[in-house]
């Protein structure tokens, strides 16, 4: 068999392609059985892979508290207890107006060095826990917490990076309405929310959402949806 001369550049490209394919395969292979879904706000369900928050899964959010509140609002409205760890600047009034029930919201603003223990204790009893990790957790700790999440059926929402997150939600292109140059006040915004699947694999899903709309509710911006295919006569 004649040896085919392969240039180094081609070889690198191929290696890269293999790595990419492997990561896609890993992403598509479900590591766990499908776990039950938590009640999710329709706007967030439109973006999340699988169409709902999963019990026992971790999600990470890129620096938007409003998006975090949107994720919590769905479960909280249907009677799930929520916890917020390490977010001293969490705006309660916004949370209440966006539909999080303050009666069932517990805050641990300054967990200090014991943040991981405190989170684990809350995971035992609450349905959804929002966490802003003050430091990096070791791989062992993350694995233990993930096991606990699966066992208790609690969803973890992390503001920032999290190694085992099911999806990573980020926000881009915010457009505010109501504010002019020197007049008006903020009333609503639309933003593109993008969800990237586990390990960066899978096609990122994105949607244009009202975060929030004029009535302080979250919903999908229908005007930005691609037109649906319709049957036409020949």
């Amino acid at each position: 068999m004649a040896a085919v001369a392969v240039s180094p550049a081609e070889r690198d490209g191929a290696a890269q392609r293999v790595a990419e394919l492997q990561s896609r395969i890993r992403g598509m292979q479900a590591t766990t059985l499908e776990s039950p879904a938590l009640p999710t706000a329709p706007a967030i369900a439109a973006v999340l892979p699988g169409g709902a928050l999963r019990q026992g899964a971790a999600y990470s959010i890129d620096g938007s508290s409003t998006l975090a509140m949107a994720v919590l609002a769905g479960p909280s409205q249907s009677g799930v207890w929520c916890g917020v760890v390490g977010v001293p600047d969490f705006g309660m009034e916004a949370a209440a107006r966006f539909g999080i029930d303050l009666e069932r919201l517990v805050l641990v603003p300054d967990p200090g060095a014991q943040w991981l223990t405190a989170t684990a204790a809350l995971v035992d009893v609450l349905g959804v826990v929002l966490l802003r990790p003050p430091g990096r957790a070791s791989d062992g700790d993350v694995a233990r917490l993930s096991a606990r999440l699966r066992q208790r059926g609690t969803a973890l929402v992390v503001l920032g990076d999290w190694p085992t997150s099911e999806a990573r939600l980020s926000i881009s292109r915010s457009e505010w309405s109501g504010l002019g140059s020197g007049h008006g006040y903020l009333t609503a915004r639309t933003a593109t929310v993008t969800a990237t699947g586990r390990l960066g694999a899978g096609r990122p899903r994105s949607a244009r959402l009202w975060l929030p709309d004029g009535a302080q509710a979250f919903r999908v911006d229908e005007t930005a949806m691609p037109p649906r295919l319709q049957a036409v006569s020949a």
Binding site: S64, S65, G91, A94, A95, V108, V125, W176
Partner: protein, 520 residues
């Protein structure tokens, strides 16, 4: 019949002041006034000598007596301070009825038979009160509690007033009618020419009943010396409080909490055996140097022994860690139940009481890890600044009612519509500049000097973003009548080129622009 209604009444003049002075360790002849709603509620004899009287405005009272010490009036404290006095009286004569803090009644028959005469019984009572530090109490003996109290108020030099049996009507006759009647009826009778109780008693009973109703008819009977009320002895409340004294005093929190452990078990066991649960306790910690720290703790469900122990520990440690030392060694810890309820109202369901119980246990665990203030719940209150609108209370405590109620009031100047998702606990300085790079200012008329064009979220002006849209300034003026607490700020909303929206404020104190909140 007469013999049965014969009553001894003990009256302690200025009891509220006396109780407050004793609690605060103020000298007995200092001028003190208790203030309620800006008016003098009660005052000490020294203050009265300087012309302070009940019902006077605070300023007026302070003007009349410049060295006046003012304290807020606390009715609950009155009653609590009177409790040991009642217990003291009960040791020498049984069957004491509390009429109000400072006044109590005893049925005369037993003590009179025991001590030999009414005067001897009264003297014994005064001696007993003297031992408890109530030096200027008065005692009155008459038919019925009303006449006996009036007799105590008009007592002789020996602080004893005795009205002979059957002489109540004659004794009461010259007293003003307003003592017995409510204000409306008192004014009406005065207009009708009835000024004294004697004149009131002289009216025909049937006419009084027909014209003024049952309440006045009852008062009429009392004015005539027919006080049918008999003393109803109270049942002494069961004593659940526990006191642990440490000899020698302990100076480490873990030692104190270990030493209190069995007492906490005893405390809860005693309550349980009386079929009670406790939902509020009061913890008093006395240190070696005589400092007293007291605090009430509430519980969302009811206290177990471990919960009581936790509260003692939290009170000791404040915000420190468990192994930290104390400022002064602890000499005694006392725990008193403040709110108790029947166990029947707190019975658990057959399969437990659902998920909330589980949540509570989990949160208590976090609380014992991070301290009482570590786990919070939130409510929205009133206010103009965003940070003061959120009321954070530790898990298990009730939010302050006053602040929760204030949420319903209008707050002109508070932020409309959209609430920001990030409200900074500590506002940080930012820079807001015009096109030319000059800081934007607000003039005396509340107008912006220069249009905002560039914004930097850091104080030094690094990382400048272009301003896309803005609005403001909106003035917020608060408590302008109070120099210490007044505040005058201007707010401004802006959206920068990256689509981030901010709420900035400019403090009148000249601290420059600060970020109050961020819409992220």
């Amino acid at each position: 019949m007469r013999d049965l209604s014969r009553t001894i009444v003990m009256w302690c003049p200025d009891w509220p002041v006396h109780a407050a002075m004793r609690a605060d360790g103020i000298d007995a002849d200092a001028p003190v006034a208790l203030i309620e709603h800006g008016l003098v509620f009660a005052c000490s004899p020294a203050a009265r000598r300087d012309g302070v009287a009940r019902g006077l405005k605070l300023r007026e009272a302070q003007a009349r007596c410049t060295s006046l010490i003012t304290l807020p009036y606390d009715g609950v404290h009155d009653a609590r301070a009177f409790e040991p006095v009642l217990a003291g009286i009960e040791t020498i004569m049984p069957g004491v009825q509390l009429m109000r803090p400072g006044v109590c009644a005893v049925r005369a028959r037993g003590p009179v038979r025991y001590y030999g005469s009414e005067r001897a019984a009264a003297e014994a009572l005064l001696a007993c009160l003297g031992e408890q530090g109530v030096a200027d109490a008065r005692v009155g003996v008459a038919d019925g509690p009303f006449a006996a109290e009036q007799a105590a108020r008009r007592s002789d030099a020996e602080r004893i007033g005795i009205v002979v049996s059957g002489g109540s009507a004659a004794f009461l006759a010259p007293l003003p009618a307003g003592l017995l009647l409510d204000e409306r009826l008192g004014v009406l009778l005065r207009r009708l020419g009835v000024h004294t109780l004697g004149e009131f008693a002289a009216l025909p009973a049937v006419d009084v009943q027909r014209r003024f109703g049952a309440v006045a008819a009852h008062a009429h009977a009392i004015a005539g010396g027919y006080d049918g009320r008999v003393v109803v002895a109270r049942t002494p409340p069961k004593d659940f409080e526990v006191l642990v004294e440490f000899e020698p005093p302990l100076d480490r929190i873990d030692q104190v909490s270990f030493g209190f452990r069995t007492a906490a078990d005893r405390f809860i066991e005693a309550l349980t055996s009386a079929r009670l649960v406790c939902t509020g306790v009061r913890v008093e910690v006395r240190s070696e140097s005589g400092e007293l720290s007291e605090r009430s703790w509430l519980h969302p469900r009811w206290f177990t022994a471990a919960d009581v122990l936790d509260r003692v520990r939290w009170q000791l440690q404040g915000s420190g860690a468990i192994d930290s030392g104390l400022r002064s060694a602890v000499a005694a810890v006392r725990v008193t139940p403040e709110r108790v309820d029947s166990t029947g109202n707190h019975e658990e369901g057959l399969w437990g009481s659902g998920p909330d119980e589980r949540v509570h246990h989990g949160l208590t665990r976090v609380q014992s890890m991070l301290g009482h203030e570590g786990v919070l719940t939130a409510t929205i209150g009133g206010g103009r600044m965003l940070a003061e609108r959120q009321i954070l209370v530790p898990w298990g405590d009730a939010p302050p009612e006053e602040r929760v109620r204030s949420a319903a009031r209008p707050w002109p100047g508070s932020l409309p519509e959209l609430a920001p998702a990030t409200v900074f606990r500590e506002r940080h300085p930012v820079r807001l500049m015009t096109d030319a790079g000059v800081d934007v200012a607000v003039d005396d008329r509340g107008m912006l000097v220069g249009d905002p064009a560039a914004f930097s979220p850091a104080a030094r002006g690094a990382g400048v973003h272009r301003v896309q849209a803005w609005a403001g300034p909106w003035p917020v003026v608060e408590r302008w009548w109070d120099a210490a607490a007044s505040r005058r700020v201007h707010r401004l909303q802006l959206v920068d080129e990256h689509g981030d929206a901010w709420l900035l404020m400019l403090d009148g104190a000249g601290e420059g622009w600060q970020a109050e909140a961020r819409y992220d």
